[in-house]
């Protein structure tokens, strides 16, 4: 009896070994692309750790510590240029966001969505038809209380303490897509397939992703680290996008929030979005 059991365990063990041998073989074949990815991302990871130099706030006495980055989108102005896609193109080119032929594989960081969808809770059937059908610019809200961060089982997405940016680690993400379920704004995308063949021109200053991980807007943390504005803000030639520090009472964003009536998406959920809209 004992021998039988030992024999069985041996057979089972050998079978299990056979099963586990396949994955490493697979992994080796994709090692090169993984490596390339890592080397590229090291720069991005470094930048995650250090404080944006432009805003060394305490030393310069210009801004408060911690910083709280926010964006104000002037929809009224943006609406006048319905066909303009400068911000979207700038963002997607900078960040190697793929352009898939099929909508079901879609990955997007910033995009235009019909106002009545983006703000469906304030839609009014007798309201301005033009407004309801006009495009609203959507991106990650970098919530002060981000539901996506709460659900991540590996802390592959987290809120950066010093400036409130909701960050992503594409090397840790296991692709469970729990954050896609948790985000009330539909701001997250999953790489259902390898994105690299679908990037028009690879920007070597920024990492590409591999299939099976989640990605989204990061408020251009890599540009902020160099003291630059986010790519979308930089690209808008009509000045519809304003970026700044909410902790700084003299910042442009605070001024706009003070002088205009602004709305945020789904404020009732308590997520405290950091993207504000002037309608």
């Amino acid at each position: 009896m004992g021998v039988d059991r030992r024999k069985f365990v041996k057979i089972a063990g050998a079978a299990a070994l056979g099963l586990t041998a396949a994955p490493p073989i697979k992994l080796f074949s994709s090692e090169t692309e993984e490596k390339a990815d890592t080397s590229l991302c090291n720069t991005a990871t470094d930048s995650c750790v250090c404080k944006p130099p432009e805003v060394d706030p305490v030393e310069q006495g210009l801004k408060k510590d911690p910083t709280r980055w926010a964006m104000v989108v002037n929809l009224g102005e943006c609406r006048k240029h319905e066909d303009c896609k400068d911000c979207i193109l700038a963002c997607h080119e900078t960040h190697n966001v793929p352009d898939f032929p099929k909508k079901k594989d879609e990955v997007k960081w910033i995009w235009k969505e019909q106002f009545s969808h983006a703000f469906h809770e304030v839609e009014n059937e007798f309201g301005d038809e033009e407004l309801n059908h006009s495009p609203a610019l959507l991106l990650c809200n970098h919530c002060d209380n981000p539901p996506c961060v709460k659900v991540c089982p590996t802390q592959a997405t987290w809120k950066r303490e010093q400036d409130g940016i909701v960050m992503m680690d594409w090397h840790r993400c296991i692709g469970c897509r729990y954050c896609l379920a948790a985000c009330p704004y539909g701001s997250r995308s999953f790489n259902y397939r390898d994105p690299r063949p679908h990037i028009k021109e690879i920007n070597t200053d920024f990492p590409t992703r591999m299939r099976g991980v989640v990605e989204k807007c990061t408020f251009c943390d890599e540009r902020l680290a160099e003291g630059k504005l986010p790519a979308c803000v930089d690209a808008c030639k009509y000045g519809c996008l304003t970026f700044g520090d909410l902790e700084d009472a003299d910042s442009k964003v605070r001024e706009l929030l003070h002088s205009h009536f602004t709305i945020r998406r789904k404020p009732g959920l308590g997520t405290q979005p950091e993207v504000f809209y002037i309608v």
Partner: protein
């Protein structure tokens, strides 16, 4: 003991071979998914969880349902469940492994799964679900093998196993409660935002699980010398009946809250399930099938004459199982995403490869349960 799973007659091996073929074919599709990504499934940016996660949810229920034989037998010393308890525990073992299988095939980067343990995140319900499911698997493997081993030697189980058995009772409840918490606390998904989710999960688990157990016991009776006798089957049937009544009751509570309040964010999901939204009606025929089967099941189970007739009971159990499988294994997850947070509709239909991979995991569970049942029956010398 366990080597008995490798001995068997022609019919045993044909069944094993059948399951292995499904696993092999599904495995090929999984390799394709591993190479190309989840793009070969019907999942998309709006509906990012589908068949895999839904099957996972359903299987957690099947796993938890073992408690419905364990509790009466060990806690209340209900002797009639003596023969059937091990069957329930082995189903739990198979179902737990299937749960893990469904999670594994759903992941974008499956070989990074260790990250869940390298970077433990107590904030995430998924972390806790992994912990409780693993624990439940270990508990059931330990309990079933220790008790079966004692049975083989015709001695009483060791004393130290009893507290572990008692622990497995609340643990079973915990696995399905935590699984409900995966969904029920998400601000983004009003359809899942219901305190009734965990109780209803338990009701569906305690009806579909024991219904499966009745069917398995009757299959064994037909094909082997194993016979539980009438009493435990009837007792299980009563458990199925009460749990199914609770399930339908809780579903009606959900519908009342959504319909009477009329809040579009809640109501529209139910509209999608039972009537469709515009031209998007993929789930409508399924959900009505589920509803009709639930009514048939209740009639067959509640009327004592029907329930006591084993042929009708079989149909009642099949109706319960399919009705809940449609509700939980198809409707419940996908509808959380339809309409999406922008209140627009993207539909989801599983693809053929996705269905094959799902069947692979089911066949794997079938294989494990078959092997374990073979072991149990060999120990009791109740084979043909």
């Amino acid at each position: 003991m366990i080597e008995n799973a490798l001995k068997g007659g022609k019919r045993y091996w044909s069944w094993i071979a059948f399951l292995l073929v499904i696993i092999a074919v599904g495995g090929l599709y999984w390799l394709r998914q591993f190479n190309e990504g989840l793009t070969i499934t019907g999942l998309n940016r709006d509906v990012s969880w589908g068949l895999y996660i839904a099957q996972f949810t359903f299987m957690v229920g099947v796993a938890a349902s073992a408690v419905m034989v364990v509790l009466p037998y060990y806690l209340h010393n209900y002797k009639a469940f003596g023969k059937i308890t091990i069957l329930g525990e082995f189903v739990a073992v198979g179902a737990c492994i299937m749960c893990m299988g469904f999670i594994f095939v759903d992941m974008g980067q499956p070989f990074r799964i260790t990250n869940v343990f390298l970077h433990p995140s107590p904030n995430s319900m998924m972390f806790w679900d992994t912990v409780v499911l693993m624990g439940y698997l270990v508990l059931n493997v330990l309990i079933s093998f220790v008790t079966l081993h004692s049975e083989k030697k015709s001695i009483a189980p060791p004393k130290w196993i009893r507290p572990i058995i008692i622990l497995s009772i609340p643990w079973a409840v915990s696995i399905h409660t935590v699984t409900a918490f995966l969904y029920a606390g998400l601000v983004a998904r009003p359809f899942w935002m219901t305190a009734v989710m965990a109780p209803r999960f338990l009701a569906t688990a305690f009806s579909a699980g024991p219904a499966l157990l009745i069917l398995l016991a009757l299959i064994l009776r037909k094909n082997t010398k194993f016979d539980t006798g009438k009493e435990p089957i009837q007792k299980l049937a009563i458990i199925v009946t009460y749990a199914m009544i609770m399930n339908v009751f809780l579903l009606l509570m959900e519908i009342f809250t959504a319909v009477y309040s009329g809040i579009p964010e809640h109501l529209d999901h139910f509209k999608y399930l039972y009537f469709g939204l515009g031209e998007n009606t993929a789930l409508v025929p399924w959900m009505w099938t589920s509803a009709v089967l639930a009514v048939i099941a209740l009639v067959l189970l509640i009327v004592p004459q029907f329930r006591k007739n084993e042929t009708l009971l079989i149909w009642g159990c099949i109706a319960v199982f399919i009705s809940i499988w449609i509700d939980k294994g198809m409707g419940m997850i996908v509808t959380g995403y339809i309409p999406n947070p922008l209140h627009t509709v993207t539909e989801y239909v599983p693809t053929f490869p996705e269905v094959m991979i799902t069947l692979m995991v089911w066949a794997l569970g079938g294989l494990i349960i078959t092997g374990l049942y073979k072991v149990a029956l060999s120990v009791r010398k109740q084979l043909v």
